[in-house]
Symmetry: C3
Subunit: 108 residues, 3 copies
């Protein structure tokens, strides 16, 4: 039960696209295809950063397209194996890795 | 001030129920009753995982009922004491524990 | 690439104000001015805690003004330098610091 996992956080923008598809959709589909243990996508309300487009400036230089955060949960090994692929999909998206301990729910 | 705490993240679905009540409501009420230092509930936009029902399939097998994440902040001792109760309420919900340091705000 | 960073999480309420301005706006503007690497603001759906006003009681004592979480990402040094300023802006807001490793995206 008390397995050690990693939580990957990917920071994107609603408007980021690969061809005619939103990156977040491409990314969620890919994560599902790669059978990661869990992935959840959240809309933020405002944000900024090196990982955000800055040409859509709203109030005080904060972008008016919504930020998106995707959290991905799996083993360190699985997530590290996925990273090259994810980096090629979201070269500008900030990706953070956090340590987590599973204390409940279905482990793989 | 720089106290060491734990952040518990519980992953649920909007449609998960205990009897006729949404689990997230039961859980928030219980956490409040147990006087945890803080709890916040967030809706995600899409998600999948062992902790999500998969029979509500939408686009590429991703559920169309919204994922919910509840973050709970308290001492390691308090959160560990709560875990058996939380596990019995959400046997299928993935629960992750992360290390955090309090650097501002009201400590208990 | 695999740089070690900190993720700061600030827990606020929609209704918290400095003068006539929502604290979350003041805080986001300040973080932008201080040129932090990234900041994202999320609305929660319900929450409670020492960092929340409790006089707006809704269902089972949970506030009906929405909780807000702001995540800030930067180096430990930069975030620690910002903390006194942030604490003076949000004296009641719980602030947590988590370890994170950058595994993709633009580093500073």
């Amino acid at each position: 039960m008390n397995q050690s996992l990693k939580m990957l956080m990917v920071f994107l923008n609603e408007v980021d696209r690969i061809g005619d598809q939103p990156i977040y959709e491409v990314l969620m589909r890919r994560l599902r295809k790669r059978d990661v243990a869990g992935a959840t996508m959240f809309y933020g309300t405002m944000g900024f950063g090196h990982h955000h487009r800055l040409h859509h400036k709203g109030l005080f230089g904060i972008t008016d397209d919504r930020p998106i955060t995707i959290t991905v949960v799996d083993t360190e090994q699985k997530i590290h194996a996925l990273l090259p692929e994810l980096r090629s999909l979201v070269p500008e998206g900030l990706m953070l890795l956090l340590d987590a301990e599973v204390v409940g729910g279905a482990a793989r």
